[in-house]
């Protein structure tokens, strides 16, 4: 009995979570098919829409789009990291091997969230640098931290959406599903162009998109006015997350190769 207690005392699981996170990050960094688009797309789009096409409207517009493109950049690794990678790992047996091992499933999820957060921070930092250097943006560190934290937290529901897809879709279908969802939800949720520039029908439609609410919360975090009040957007996002979490859990329980 003392023996068992000792073994368990040494085995605190800290290194497990850390190694799981590290492995997930290394995997993502060393896979250019993942790392290149998740970083390059938001950077290029922000350069075009947030700096080049802004022209006279200046720093205010750059800041607004830093919030929404930063949101776009944080969603990407969460959605792809879960949606596509989980589908692959489910079908190639890696997830089975881990489920059979003593790894707690929470470590698998935490590691993917960690990876998505690191990529999110990299993208947001790059966009901020572009805005400061080319767009003449001035932003305080406190404001930037608030914005970044908001964007990372508001990307979590998309990790859950990705999980729901990843535990169900085939690895062939998953990239297509995730790409289409990501692009459509980003455009019509107002992450590329301000939602107010769209016809009112689309503005109404945006309410059913989680990207809209994430984007509005990011906008609020930089001190600009969101469409509805913060609590409304946050509540809808929490509701969406709960549905996705249930769906992901159901798909996990019934998953097949």
């Amino acid at each position: 009995m003392t023996n068992t207690a000792q073994t368990e005392a040494q085995y605190d699981g800290k290194s497990l979570y850390w190694l799981e996170c590290k492995s997930e990050l290394l995997k993502a960094l060393r896979t250019p098919q993942f790392s290149a688009p998740t970083i390059a797309f938001p950077v290029v789009f922000y350069l075009i829409f947030g700096v080049i096409l802004v022209g006279d409207e200046g720093a205010g517009r750059s800041l607004y789009l830093l919030a929404t493109f930063g949101m776009f950049g944080a969603i990407g690794p969460a959605l792809f990291g879960f949606g596509v990678n989980v589908a692959n790992e489910r079908s190639n047996g890696w997830l089975d091997l881990k489920k059979i091992s003593p790894m707690p499933i929470a470590a698998y999820i935490v590691a993917k969230l960690f990876m998505a957060a690191v990529f999110g921070i990299v993208v947001i930092s790059l966009l901020t640098t572009i805005a400061v250097v080319f767009g003449g943006l001035e932003i305080s560190l406190a404001r930037w931290l608030l914005m970044t934290t908001t964007q990372l937290l508001c990307a979590v529901p998309f990790g859950l959406l990705g999980m729901a897809i990843g535990f169900r879709a085939s690895p062939e279908a998953a990239p297509a599903i995730v790409n289409i969802l990501f692009m459509l939800m980003s455009v019509f949720g107002g992450l590329w162009l301000p939602i107010t520039m769209f016809p009112s029908v689309i503005q109404q439609f945006a309410w059913i998109l989680p990207t809209f609410h994430s984007g509005q919360l990011a906008i609020a975090s930089i001190g600009m006015t969101s469409i509805a009040n913060i609590l409304t957007h946050a509540a809808l996002l929490v509701g969406f997350s709960a549905i996705m979490a249930l769906l992901a859990a159901r798909n996990y329980r019934t998953m097949s190769k």
Partner: protein
């Protein structure tokens, strides 16, 4: 980690196990035990229920009926997972990670892992620890998977077709490692289409056909069930003519060679040479484990060329 104080208790106890997928009845009341330290091979044709049985034992899916006890617990229980290691039939590990990173990751899952250098040494991965998984040959990748199975210093090993696609030298090395694990008291459950492997390693065979166990016996006993001799030769005599001879059980033709099964090889050889003095390539063999298993589960099933198992 002491999770089963009663050392006499079997490592695995399976009772009246059923698995149904809709209308398909994949396992129809399977019962058998695996003793501690025993090396058991599961044999069956594709679709016989091996994969279903293994998936249940590994805790990947629930059974429809019946009970399974592993090391005193249920499949999928944390103490059971901590005390087991597995090699799945078809797994791809993350391409981008290095050998040492993969092994370290799996070591971190277990309360009392084997030291990294020991694992690398045992599986012959010493020189390859800094190599990415993607850059390894198929055989080397299989070794990494084996290292992951051994990472937790398991009491119980599940090996699903561990040597598929490996060349003979590597397979023999692998057998040696399994033998040394067995002498350390590790309980091993293996599936393989290679009967030479099973004959060399397994204490006992459990043969499954259409979801039922049709044999569960010591390897030597199963081999003895078919105690005939095979006379192999090239002869002008036709299969029909050979079958008419006294003492001939059956005749099979593979290419130019005819294989005559008999219990009275002396008599058959005499009449064979009398009727066809010009016969060539004569060879007399004891029946093999392969013959025994073929006689039980049908000729196509022990086919070593057909290694595809349907995935669920």
């Amino acid at each position: 980690m002491e999770i089963n104080s009663a050392a006499t208790m079997p490592a695995i106890a399976i009772k009246a196990l059923h698995k149904r997928y809709g209308t398909v009845h994949a396992l129809k009341g399977v019962s058998f035990d695996v003793q501690r330290g025993e090396f058991v091979a599961l044999i069956g044709a594709n679709g016989a229920g091996k994969t279903s049985l293994l998936s249940i034992l590994m805790g990947l899916m629930p059974q429809s009926e019946g009970t399974v006890q592993i090391l005193g617990g249920k499949p999928g229980d944390m103490p059971v997972r901590q005390a087991s290691g597995v090699m799945l039939q078809s797994t791809s590990l993350p391409d981008a990670l290095k050998v040492s990173e993969l092994v370290e990751l799996f070591r971190s899952y277990y309360p009392a892992p084997r030291p990294l250098p020991e694992l690398l040494n045992l599986t012959g991965l010493n020189e390859l620890e800094g190599r990415r998984y993607k850059a390894l040959s198929g055989g080397q990748q299989r070794r990494v998977q084996f290292a992951l199975a051994l990472a937790g210093d398991p009491q119980l090993l599940f090996l699903d077709e561990p040597t598929v696609g490996l060349d003979m030298d590597v397979r023999r090395e692998f057998w040696q490692i399994l033998d040394s694990l067995k002498s350390r008291g590790v309980t091993i459950v293996l599936t393989s289409h290679y009967l030479d492997e099973i004959e060399a390693l397994a204490d006992r065979l459990v043969i499954i056909k259409e979801g039922e166990i049709i044999a569960n016996d010591a390897t030597a006993n199963i081999k003895r069930r078919v105690e005939h001799k095979n006379i192999i030769c090239q002869s002008k005599l036709t299969t029909v003519e050979l079958e008419k001879m006294d003492g001939v059980i059956s005749v099979a033709q593979i290419g130019r060679l005819k294989t005559i099964a008999t219990n009275t090889e002396n008599t058959v050889l005499k009449s064979l040479l009398a009727q066809d003095p010009a016969l060539t390539d004569l060879l007399v063999e004891s029946s093999s484990l392969e013959d025994a298993i073929k006689s039980m589960i049908g000729p196509d099933t022990a086919d070593t060329a057909n290694i595809q198992e349907p995935t669920q």
